[in-house]
Symmetry: C2
Subunit: 300 residues, 2 copies
């Protein structure tokens, strides 16, 4: 089934201990889409400026991603510049130029309104809600969020959560959202706020999935060479949502498999600068890593 | 089969956000022994002062732990005082009085020399080596270590490691030992130094097991109420070694099960102050949590 992602498209400049990549293609919808397209048809709603090059457009279209929802507006494309610490476990934002993304008002094309799987990448909760308002009746809608919205747009976020099937966020964010310092308590508390499914990303420590009737923990794929962690979270979400959209049903087992495919997608993204690795990935690589990950965690 | 543990016995004073416990029974061999006795016969080599009360001795003997190797020396018992941060992810040592443990020279009773399973709890590598010198031919010898020895007694530690079957240490320690900031790289590098098996403990994030022919990752048991993290690592080691010693063979599958039993033992210890919870634990509780943990991580 088709999968719609709504989020940012950006020019990223990234400094890591392995080097610097300048003005490369980035953004939440980009990483998400390039991971999800390995599993299903992807539709993208985002915005870029007039400086967005055809070469970047081709990265999407070559990957089979539908760009009917990619708006081009006067001005420049969203630009982000980040710098990672020596161990790459923390990063600072050196510069952000929101540009055309600053007043992003997602317009869902008529042809996307019946799309059953929807991912709302990190954005203001009111903006995320405006996407749901434009959709007919999504079968499975999931959102990402971040500390900024949890702190400053809490009411809007709390109004959005019960409209979602799932929420994906990281360990610090779920603690901030729920006020619980224990992650298991925090995951359970987040479930009570509304979504039927909460996925807590823990970076190199893997992730937890919380739902009403089962919980699941999966370690990260054992990556030895992290080159650039940018986009890991969005690639995870793309693999997760992509696998589900491409599956016959949203069962316990498919949800667990989807978490593993998300984990694998993230493992590829971090092994190269920007989208290089995930854009070049083929399904055979994904499947090999999926089986390696299953062996890594197999208890028998 | 029998299991020998050599390590500290102590009076612990612990401050956590949940309260303070004063002068309670602690020490590495204590937590290890009280976890391991759930699975097999445990022999203890340690030292205490004349102030060590009979009530504490009974905690061991009631648990079936053999105290033939518990030496009583003139003076006081090792005393430790620690304080945990609000989220219990870090702790400071308020006071340490080594007392009789200061010049601990482990003496293995003649009746223990043929014991097949040996655990060398955290201690100076030369002291740990002196235990191996006293043993006939252990079938499976494993040691713990810490930052102090890695930094200041590195040569002795590097001489000890090839004599071991396994090394158990935490994430920061394995990074320090190997100079690798990536945990997978660090685990592989530690294997090359000598032990056939390296277990890296990551606290609430679970653990990794590295060996020549397989790697394994297991999340922590989903504990919601951490009261006192003291002794979690030694309880893990006790559950791990205890299960192996009680098993028919040291196979891949038994090693994985042993890691899960260690994880469960640690989850019990942290739910109470000091040894309260692990000393009171019964095998039925262990088995129930073992199955809960297996469900938590089951991919199908």
């Amino acid at each position: 089934m088709s999968l719609l992602v709504v989020g940012s498209t950006a020019f990223d400049t990234v400094e890591t201990p392995h080097g610097t990549a300048k003005q490369c293609l980035g953004g939440s919808s980009t990483y998400f889409g390039l991971a999800a397209r390995l599993f299903t048809d992807v539709q993208l709603v985002s915005v870029v400026g007039e400086d967005f090059p055809d070469a970047h457009r081709r990265t999407f279209t070559d990957a089979g991603i539908d760009l009917a929802g990619l708006e081009t507006k006067p001005g420049k494309t969203f630009a982000w510049h980040g710098r990672y610490s020596a161990d790459m476990n923390s990063r600072e934002t050196v510069d952000v130029q929101l540009n055309t993304f600053g007043d992003f008002k997602p317009k869902v094309p008529a042809s996307y309104r019946e799309t059953p799987f929807v991912f709302l990448a990190n954005g203001a909760p009111a903006t995320q809600a405006s996407v749901l308002d434009q959709m007919a009746a999504p079968r499975f809608a999931v959102a990402d969020t971040m500390d900024l919205w949890i702190e400053h747009n809490r009411e809007e976020l709390l109004a959005l959560l019960p409209r979602l099937d799932g929420l994906i966020l990281n360990d610090e964010e779920v603690k901030m959202l729920t006020g619980k310092s224990n992650l298991i308590q925090a995951g359970r508390a987040a479930l009570k706020i509304g979504p039927k499914l909460v996925i807590v990303k823990k970076g190199e420590h893997g992730c937890f999935l919380f739902s009403t009737f089962f919980h699941y923990a999966l370690p990260a794929y054992p990556t030895e060479h992290v080159v650039d962690p940018t986009g890991a979270g969005d690639s995870f979400a793309g693999g997760f949502m992509g696998y589900l959209a491409g599956s016959a049903s949203i069962s316990v087992w498919n949800l667990k498999r989807a978490v593993a495919y998300g984990t694998v997608a993230a493992s590829l993204t971090v092994e190269g600068f920007g989208v290089d690795r995930i854009a070049a990935a083929e399904r055979t690589t994904i499947e090999r890593r999926y089986h390696e990950l299953q062996q890594f965690v197999a208890s028998s």
